[in-house]
Symmetry: C2
Subunit: 277 residues, 2 copies
């Protein structure tokens, strides 16, 4: 077997490496280094600034969980905004909902969407949905002059380093609060509570400054750092741990189930400790 | 920082490496290669045949989950057997239960217990409990001529390669069934349903040949392969998803909570698919 490897440095003391067979694409966009590789374990993968973002064989876990927990937790997610998510994975899950009538996707890096449409057709398959409007802009700025109000915002960002760092700030969450309807909610990918416990806790604390209801849920994602990955919801009115949607999307999925919806919010003691501080 | 690393090969296409500062001990026992290292990320770790078994900073996750789910799921876990678990971690959790009156621990490799007592005092702290009886023997043979019947058996084995492979066999599970009381149950560590899906599914299928009730629960363990780790229970009478113990142990723990007990049994769709086959 070929001895080519992609090394991913997660911390100073922890790295993983995935065996690869091909480097299909490499470029430096105005925002980041972007690559597409073929891995032995997970199929084709998108790498941004050295970090694996999606892999063909398990991207459904992250995308189902960032999308359906909130869309099923909200009674009527009609108007939606996705910030980031230029690969189209969350978008693909969102358009499965019959409630949806308008979706704005704001991705800073046009090349992510173009490369995803070229190399990840199963992920990027919903860009042409008539309810979808794609904007190539900085999400942080975009929501400062919003055109409309939303029921739901998904912040599908990369890690809080470089351009994404402001997407974890209290200022950003205040702006999100402004563009949400009085019963709106936002979900953000909030990092590993094990390896990036400080970022996880800071994200929670910042959301708590802005939203009356803040809840964390977890999913272990094999292509990310080991242990659980976290998502955090800020909600103005509804408790997202309950399925409040009368037409929840639950069929045809590979990870999310109704039973798992509530279970994902049951946190291990050490994770609860991190957000009680 | 020192550039010393411990490489752990999980599959042909996936390896992790942990930065280390010291190799404290190395030996070849009659059964396996054993090492104790200091990692930057997780503190001191026990390595058997190149695979990380326990690390000081997160061993509680595995040990709490393999022990308290069944001990709280059984109404009266008085007589217990642990097969493997020579580090003493499951033992330490088991003696927290007021129900417990007799515990046999059967470890094949005396050196694991000795090294654990020397290098992992917080893990191996319960060997002196008066209810505990340690036997250095092959668990597979030990249960063929049992001295007593048990309410609960914990199979805390290493991976199903080499000497541990028979601890995943239908024959072994039949023998376990024989030594369990009519309302007894057994829990086995059943590998990663992501990276070792075949072993996970085979373990489940073998238990299903023997026990009327078979249930899987999950916990993501950061020092094991990424994604969820699985445990599988075979039960003669009680549904282990419910806390059936009137004096459950729930305080003073870092991972397990009552809420998490039931949640851990809620399986992602793809895991449920593996065991429906």
């Amino acid at each position: 077997m070929q001895d080519y490897w992609f090394y991913e440095k997660h911390t100073e003391g922890y790295e993983v490496r995935w065996r690869i067979t091909e480097i299909l694409h490499q470029e430096a966009t105005p925002y980041q280094k972007l690559a597409v590789i073929e891995t032995v374990e997970w199929g084709r993968a998108l790498i941004l600034d050295g970090v694996l973002q999606i892999a063909d064989k398990d991207e459904y876990i992250y995308h189902e969980m960032i999308t359906h927990v909130t869309m099923n937790g909200h009674p009527h997610p009609q108007d939606m905004l996705i910030i980031g998510g230029g690969d189209g994975g969350a978008l693909r899950e969102a358009v499965k909902h019959p409630d949806l009538r308008h979706l704005d996707l704001v991705e800073i890096d046009r090349r992510v969407a173009e490369i995803s449409q070229q190399y990840f057709p199963r992920v990027s398959c919903a860009f042409a949905d008539p309810r979808v409007n794609v904007h190539f802009a900085d999400g942080f700025d975009y929501i400062k002059a919003p055109v409309r109000q939303y029921d739901l915002v998904i912040v599908d960002s990369s890690d809080p380093v470089g351009p994404s760092i402001k997407l974890f700030s209290e200022e950003f969450y205040r702006d999100l609060h402004q563009i949400l309807r009085p019963d709106g909610m936002v979900v953000v990918q909030s990092e590993s509570p094990v390896f990036y416990a400080d970022q996880f806790a800071a994200c929670h604390a910042n959301l708590r400054q802005v939203f009356p209801i803040v809840e964390v849920y977890l999913a272990p994602i094999a292509t990310y750092v080991s242990g659980p990955w976290s998502f955090t919801i800020g909600s103005k009115r509804y408790d997202p741990r309950t399925i409040n949607n009368e037409q929840p999307v639950t069929t045809g999925l590979q990870y999310y189930t109704e039973e798992l919806h509530r279970a994902a919010f049951c946190l291990p003691g050490f994770v609860r400790e991190l957000i009680l501080k």
